[in-house]
């Protein structure tokens, strides 16, 4: 009997497709639904799982400015070394300018300036202007953004957060996403680590004027080729150092947290061979004088040089906790930022809010889904049940496809799924209404299904394609969370073509004999056939 029953059910390609879709949907949505460790899962957006999203800008002009400043100090160093007299040396408006006092030096000067890369020299009556070429500026800007991305990525990798994203956006923006952040304190620590310039410099204390450090102004200090720097530990103390650094962090090879005699955390660093050479030479020549260790423009310590220090290693001591020392060591190891970064956009969601959002949207999804399912069953009877089967497969398919593509599910994405439920139901409403119409005309069930699907098809295709057009526009021009909405809607519409249209049609064809035999169209479609 059972055999006879099933022998009357005709398998057809549509049903086979639906079965495949169901298996596919089940297999690939299971890892996401059960939160299993294995298999591809849907990634939850930061709005759902909590975390930090930042869009950072890079002040690329400042990379240009500091490049010009270093060109200027090169000029200064060269002229002093060769006893060339110049006046009014300054770096501004993308150019280094100065006046050569003795025309006789012009040949030597020109020779030197020619060798400065990426610049064009203009000179007229001893007035020199060394301008960076637009190409060099452009190159430096691009380089400073790329370098910032690389540096931030390095720092975050070493910070030990799970799955940080650091990506370039547009020309000079950096997208940073940190899903693992749990507390505001942790977030602030991560932000400090990211934005730290980490520019390490060794500078000589100007011993001749050291006594006046707390009295002079920055302007005065500059006038004798010095720089006035704050002390990192006692902000009121000032230090007068020679403007041009002896060496900087680019020669650093390693930085590690260690402990000093009184068991306070310090940072031990090592220099490369070039740095070690310079460091050794300097300390050898300046025994008895002080050397300032400067980080991001602040003096951390200024120990007296007791003897020549070879081997190229040193120590930065400060008043920091182990965690701070650790972050600082990371920042030093991953290198300095060529240009400072600033916040353009930040969205941070606490984990508890994310959990609330998931709960809220799940309740909305399930209750909306439940209401629609009940309504369909009540209104269309068995046709409603068939539509509901398609609906379930539809949702499984959306989850499966998103998991396979590694798509991110955001809050608007959840709304998109809810909306897709509405649209998939709409397709079945259109189809069922058409079938009912034909039944009302007194046609056979077979014909009603055939013509019903044929007539409904045009309307459904046209309406689905127009919605897809809107979704594509949303995807292309949308940002962040809105993209998530467009993705779920697009996947949902395509999935509904397979489930709500082909799938349900297949089920009807398969059950056709049964429906015709039962002669009870009220049970199957919720209406009686006119005779």
């Amino acid at each position: 009997m059972l055999w006879q029953e099933s022998s009357r059910m005709k398998l057809n390609y549509r049903v086979v497709l639906l079965i495949f879709a169901t298996i596919f949907g089940l297999v690939f949505s299971l890892p996401s639904l059960t939160q299993s460790q294995n298999g591809a899962k849907i990634t939850l957006g930061l709005d759902l799982q909590g975390g930090l999203h930042m869009l950072l800008g890079v002040k690329t002009e400042e990379a240009v400015t500091s490049q010009l400043k270093s060109t200027a100090s090169g000029v200064k160093h060269f002229t002093e070394h060769n006893d060339i007299l110049i006046d009014g040396l300054s770096a501004s408006n993308n150019a280094v300018t100065f006046e050569l006092l003795d025309e006789d030096d012009a040949v030597v000067m020109d020779e030197y300036l020619k060798k400065v890369e990426g610049t064009v020299v203009h000179s007229a009556q001893g007035k020199y202007s060394l301008a960076m070429t637009p190409a060099a500026i452009e190159k430096l800007k691009v380089q400073s953004v790329d370098q910032a991305i690389e540096t931030i990525r390095n720092r975050l990798d070493q910070f030990g957060l799970s799955e940080p994203t650091v990506a370039k956006q547009g020309i000079d923006k950096i997208l940073v996403e940190l899903p693992g952040i749990k507390t505001p304190q942790e977030e602030q620590r991560a932000r400090e680590l990211i934005s730290r310039a980490a520019k390490l410099e060794m500078m000589a204390i100007d011993e001749d004027r050291a006594m006046r450090a707390n009295d002079v102004t920055q302007m005065e200090a500059e006038s004798f080729g010095d720089k006035l720097l704050d002390d990192a530990i006692e902000p009121k103390t000032k230090h007068l150092v020679h403007e041009i650094a002896i060496l900087d962090g680019t020669m650093l090879t390693d930085a590690q947290v260690g402990y000093d005699q009184s068991n306070r955390p310090v940072i031990n660093f090592s220099l490369n061979s070039e740095g070690a050479q310079i460091f050794g030479d300097f300390t050898g020549k300046n025994v008895g004088k002080r050397l300032a260790i400067v980080l991001d423009g602040k003096v951390y310590s200024a120990p007296v040089i007791n003897e020549r220090i070879g081997g190229g290693s040193g120590q930065i001591s400060g008043n920091y906790t182990t965690a701070e020392a650790n972050d600082l060591a990371i920042a030093l190891r991953s290198g300095a930022l060529l240009a400072p970064i600033y916040m353009m956009e930040k969205r941070s969601v606490g984990p508890s809010l994310g959990a609330d959002s998931i709960k809220g949207s799940m309740i909305a999804l399930l209750s909306g889904f439940g209401a629609v399912v009940l309504f369909m069953m009540f209104y269309y009877r068995r046709a409603g049940v068939i539509a509901n089967i398609a609906l379930v497969v539809n949702i499984l398919l959306i989850i499966a496809v998103m998991a396979l593509f590694g798509a991110t599910l955001t809050l608007p994405g959840m709304a998109g799924i809810v909306l897709t439920v509405g649209m998939a139901v709409d397709s079945n409403v259109i189809i069922n209404e058409r079938i009912r119409e034909i039944l009302a005309e007194g046609s056979s069930v077979k014909r009603a299904i055939e013509v019903g699907y044929e007539n409904a098809m045009r309307a459904i295709t046209d309406s689905n394609i127009t919605t897809l057009i809107a979704a594509v526009a949303l995807y292309v021009y949308g940002t962040g969370a809105i993209k998530g909405f467009a993705i779920t809607i697009s996947i949902g519409i395509i999935a509904s073509m397979i489930t709500a249209i082909l799938g349900t049609h297949g089920i009807y064809i398969m059950l056709l004999d049964r429906i015709e035999k039962s002669k009870d169209t009220a049970k199957w479609f919720g209406v009686k056939r006119s005779m």
Binding site: M343, M344, K346, R458, T466, I482
Partner: protein, 323 residues
């Protein structure tokens, strides 16, 4: 169960003048609202900061105001309850550029001593990003409309396309009017909601137009009005049923989706109601007003069919090797 059973066309076109008057009135009211009351651009488009704070127990809003009023950063800020009495949202016009210490950190410090609280959300949008997002939002809407216009003209006729876009503009204007009326914050989610309305409204209109297209070839009626009435009536049960199911879904979103999805759900609810109305009372009468000519359209269709037959004949002849 059945809501409607088709017996004869409902003479809706006879009421089209009244419907048009209502629509024109609604659109004008919406435009007046938009231009006088204006839109509350949220931080996504205007730039600024939103900080969501949850207290253990009732949030001490007055104390919070006092604590924040001392700092110039918080000038022009507003503090409002958010969903429940223990949760508040602080809205600021300012944004901060510092990465290490932003407005959220300052707020946390300023609020210390007001009770046990948790800062659950800090959104900071710089002015530059805001204007970029605004541009992109407008682009998305424009391209979606152009895309739809092209597709509908291609599948139907230009009058259908124009009528559907008018209906669309009608729905969007009224939805935006409602946003202005309720003074909802216009953020990216509102753009998503407007685009959904756009998709939904065009869907509804196309279902009716598809029926009109079909009736033109099937029915023997000689006036456009008759055909429109017949088509609208025949699709009425579908229109109402679908709107009802979408409505159910939206009401659950509205009720359980939480505060964040509120604006989205509200905008959509208005859009769905207006969209349903417009597909019945606006799009189809517009078709007639645009001078849709039944005779011409039928002539064009039969000409097209004749050409198709001619082509078929040629192909057959070609295959037989005659030409």
């Amino acid at each position: 169960m059945e809501l409607f059973r088709y017996s004869k066309p409902i003479p809706l076109m006879a009421k089209s003048k009244l419907a048009m008057a209502i629509s024109v009135f609604m659109v004008i009211v919406s435009l007046v609202l938009i231009f006088t009351k204006g839109l509350n651009f949220g931080i996504d488009f205007a730039g600024g900061t939103i900080i969501q704070v949850k207290y253990e127990g009732v949030a001490p809003i007055d104390t919070m105001r006092q604590k924040l009023s001392g700092n110039r950063m918080f000038e022009g800020s507003s503090i409002n309850e958010f969903g429940s009495p223990d949760e508040v949202v602080i809205r600021l016009k300012n944004s901060s550029e510092s990465v290490t210490r932003d407005i959220g950190d300052v707020t946390r410090e300023q609020l210390s001593g007001t009770g046990t609280f948790e800062i659950r959300r800090v959104d900071i949008v710089g002015a530059k990003v805001g204007s970029e997002l605004r541009e992109k939002g407008i682009m998305a809407l424009t391209f979606a409309i152009i895309g739809i216009l092209i597709y509908v003209s291609f599948r139907f006729e230009w009058r259908f396309a124009v009528a559907s876009v008018f209906a669309l503009a009608h729905d969007l204007t009224i939805a935006v009017g409602a946003i202005s009326l309720f003074q909802l914050d216009v953020n990216l989610d509102v753009i998503a909601a407007l685009l959904t309305i756009l998709g939904y409204s065009i869907n509804d209109t196309i279902i009716v137009f598809d029926r009109i297209r079909e009736e033109i070839t099937v029915s023997s009626a000689s006036s456009v009005n008759e055909i429109i009435d017949d088509s609208v009536t025949r699709t009425l049960s579908r229109t109402v049923l679908t709107s009802l199911t979408v409505f159910i879904v939206l009401v659950t979103l509205f009720a359980f989706g939480g505060e964040i999805i509120h604006t989205f759900a509200t905008t959509l609810l208005v859009g769905v109601v207006v969209g349903t109305y417009s597909s019945i009372f606006v799009a189809s009468p517009l078709l007639e007003m645009l001078g849709f000519n039944l005779k011409n359209y039928r002539a064009k269709l039969s000409e097209k069919a004749a050409r198709e037959i001619e082509k078929e004949k040629m192909r057959a002849q070609f295959e037989q090797g005659i030409v």
